[in-house]
């Protein structure tokens, strides 16, 4: 059996859901674990998809469109990102227009709070007017959930993150403030998958609520429920997540991230 | 060349033995390794024998710092700025340094012969001039008739310095050295030397070198020691990076008028600063350094 790390398992599960000819949008992210889930893991998944079943999959990172994934920078400071060989660097405002027009197929998102309907909060913890913790704002998270054809959520599983109702709807999932996604008439596809360290989830549960699609090896329904702040739908006999093949692990370790920069944390 | 050959300027200067035959790159206001000259003076180098073409500022400073026993040169002058290079001229007038004069082309040819690994070169220059009267025939030159055309030529021995000190703009970690703007005799001087110490403004990624390979004057195998030090040609210019510091050049030449004022200059700008960055602070600091930055298109 192929040996793999949890990050590699997550990356493989993300990669398998990427389709040929799609364009994925990755933010520029922060540091540490947040960098891995928001930037590193999506880059690895995208490159893995390119090298396996989706040779024409491409990404944009910030305003860099279709960078050379054979030459991923070793450091993600501005100067390394701006000199990364790439097909195009466009103005941020032009780039956002394309996002709104529906030119982003897969939006990779993460966040400190996600609820059972896939609403995501990256803005405040607590009451908006008197927040317990003020976070960074909204960034382009609302755009990911409103305009990307499919939004992929990647985050670690714990009850602080997976809450019954987010404290602030930064990005709209399948139902927000008592109205369904259909009623809001948002053009994008919304959150379709959640990839965590415990499994892969979608929102095809009753009333568009989060349900387990697969659980990672060794993960039980109880473990998932314990780390989820709302009753999570786990179908009986839920299958095991896709396991990495030897080829996929070989690609990640020798070609994609040989110095373990993208999946470090 | 490996990364391990990147040295500090102090380490690189320490590797220049007293009594060495040294050649220094640069010309006019461009690319003279001034920080290295200052460091050599700080380290009290003695009896250096300079093989020069026209690196007036570097030579004048080194002579003024008391490091030089003999100078072989084509010409030293401060050109448009301030005329004669006083420290050098006074040292010759007072018999403190030995001097051997050649024409520019003769010196360039001697370096070219050295660069090609030949023992001598043949020139037309200096025929009939007094220059030859001051050189011992048979030892420093030989007259001969060309075996092909029969015309008279002067044979001069190849110049083979122990060390070439080369100021350049940039190199990669391997030591591929890029020189921009007037390169004069730098290539020949370096190739003629047994050992090359290069001082660069910055180390750039290999891809930058590869994107502009024609700027590589000396491939890495010619470069033995690399020193990375920004603004290390100051008060000279580094084309594409910064201009010469006219204000400081006047300070320099005014200081070289009397022994007292020259001692004051050395104390203030060479001995007092503990390193190159303190020197930069001394000549005007960040404000001055920012003023000297080159226009991105003009290069100066």
């Amino acid at each position: 059996m192929t040996e793999y790390t949890l990050n590699e398992l997550m990356a493989v599960n993300v990669a398998r859901q990427l389709h040929d000819d799609e364009m994925g949008f990755i933010g520029v992210g922060t540091g540490g674990r947040a960098f891995t889930v928001a930037v590193g893991l999506p880059i690895v998944a995208a490159r893995l998809a390119q090298l396996t079943h989706a040779p024409n999959f491409t990404i944009q990172i910030g305003t860099i469109i279709s960078p050379d994934l054979e030459n991923i920078p070793k450091v993600f400071t501005e100067n390394h990102i701006t000199t990364w060989p790439t097909m195009a660097r466009v103005r941020a405002d032009d780039n956002l227009d394309m996002f709104v027009k529906g030119k982003v197929d897969v939006g990779f998102v993460s966040g400190p709070q996600i609820d059972q309907y896939g609403n995501i909060n990256i803005t405040v913890i607590g009451d908006y007017k008197k927040p317990k913790v003020r976070l960074v704002g909204c960034l382009a998270l609302p755009e990911h959930l409103a305009f990307a054809r499919r939004a992929f959520v990647i985050t670690d599983h714990n009850a602080r993150t997976f809450v019954e109702n987010v404290h602030f709807v930064t990005g709209v999932g399948w139902q927000a403030n008592g109205k369904s996604r259909e009623e809001y008439n948002l053009p994008g596809g919304g959150p379709v998958y959640v990839f965590t360290d415990l499994g892969v989830f979608d929102f095809n549960g009753e009333g568009h609520r989060m349900q387990a699609l697969t659980l990672h090896p060794g993960v039980t329904p109880d473990m998932v429920q314990e780390k989820t702040g709302f009753p999570v739908i786990i179908p009986p006999n839920v299958p095991t997540s896709i396991l990495p093949t030897e080829e996929e692990i070989e690609l990640i370790r020798t070609k994609i991230d040989p110095e373990n920069i993208l999946l470090k944390y | 060349m490996l990364n391990s050959r990147i040295l500090t300027i102090e380490e690189a200067a320490a590797g220049i033995p007293d009594g060495s035959v040294v050649t220094v790159g640069g010309f006019g206001v461009f690319l003279q390794p001034m920080a290295m000259m200052r460091e050599m003076i700080r380290q009290g180098k003695k009896d250096i024998n300079l093989l020069s073409v026209g690196e007036a500022y570097a030579a004048d400073l080194l002579v003024g710092g008391g490091c030089v026993r003999s100078v072989t040169l084509a010409s030293f002058g401060f050109e448009a700025v301030t005329g004669r290079s006083r420290n050098f001229c006074k040292a010759v007038e007072q018999g403190k340094v030995e001097v051997e004069d050649y024409s520019h082309f003769s010196m360039a040819s001697r370096f070219l012969a050295g660069a090609m690994g030949l023992p001598f070169t043949a020139v037309h220059s200096m025929r009939g001039s007094d220059l030859l009267d001051h050189l011992p025939e048979g030892k420093k030159y030989v007259k001969m008739d060309c075996p092909f055309s029969g015309e008279e030529v002067i044979l001069l021995p190849a110049a083979k310095p122990d060390i070439a000190i080369i100021q350049a703009q940039r190199a990669d970690m391997d030591g591929n050295l890029q020189v921009m703007g007037p390169t004069i005799c730098i290539e020949e001087q370096a190739r003629a030397a047994k050992r090359v110490i290069a001082i660069v403004e910055e180390i750039v990624p290999r891809s930058v070198i590869q994107a502009n390979p024609t700027a590589t004057l000396l491939p890495s195998f010619f470069v033995d020691t690399l020193v990375v030090l920004p603004y290390s040609a100051h008060p000279m210019a580094s084309y594409g990076y910064y201009d010469y510091d006219l204000e400081h050049l006047y300070t320099y030449t005014n200081s070289s008028k009397t022994p007292e004022s020259w001692k004051g200059y050395l104390d203030e700008y060479v001995y007092a600063p503990k390193d190159h960055y303190e020197y930069l602070e001394q000549v005007g600091g960040l404000r001055k350094i920012m003023q000297l930055r080159a226009d991105p298109l003009l290069g100066y």
């Binding site: 501005e78 103005r91 956002l96 909060n121 | -």
Partner: protein
Amino acid sequence: MRNKVISATEAVKAIKSGSTLTIGGNTIRRHPLGLVREIIRQEIKDLTIYVWVAGIDVDLLVGAGCVRRVEAAYVGMGPLGFAPNVRRAVQEGRIEYEDFSETSMLARLRAAGMGLPYLPTKVLLGTGMAQYATHAKPVTCPFTGEQLYAVSAAKADVAILHGYYGDVHGNIQWPMVRNTDDIDPVIAKSADHVIFSVEQLIDPKTVMSNPTMTYIPHNWVNAVVEMPYGAHPGTCDGIYDPDSRHLEEYMEAAKSDDTFKAYLDKYVFGTKDDFEYLEQAAGLAHLLSLRVSH
């Protein structure tokens, strides 16, 4: 085309207490921090800040007590995480804050640049932004009947930005490497009065020989100030990297009001101009070590 070069002290006098201000750059990149420090020195107060993806610029101003209200898509320190002063000020209710997303804040700044009172957007539908924003109102499209939100123009009295190269007339140029992870042209267009600090003044002839490198033309610009390392301790990518040594000190100082006051006393109030600040905060040798390859 007149000569628009003035000192930072003079330039900042155009910013009045109680006025609205917009700022170029993003996160810890290419903000006009030299001008920001001068705003703090001149003790300009009660500013309302319109920004897109902001960072240390707003954190400095908030930490120095210059700000009454922030309207933004993001204020954070990029890879270093949250903006500590902003976070504390919001949590303690000392400043007002209105959240927008990247495209909705962009729409507000664009509307200002286009001379329009508002632009419509879909991105607020269903979100907390729509719930709390005072500058967003639901509207129905008169053509399709779709539900949208109108977001009002964020028209600032003054814009401050930091550019790479500029000439005396205010033509601002990219260096050789062109990247655009900010919306500086939108910011510059949005305000009544535009002040640019630039890394280096260049000859107008250099500008003319390479006009496609001009991303802000002189007729948008009112004042130009040459401020080398004017984005310090952030990055001016292509010219220098962020000063992580000083940023660490900043993040540590910004942990409390008292320590941040000491930071400001030492580096901003304790220095008469940005050259003094740079000598204090970094020093020549360290600044030169931050330069990136040509």
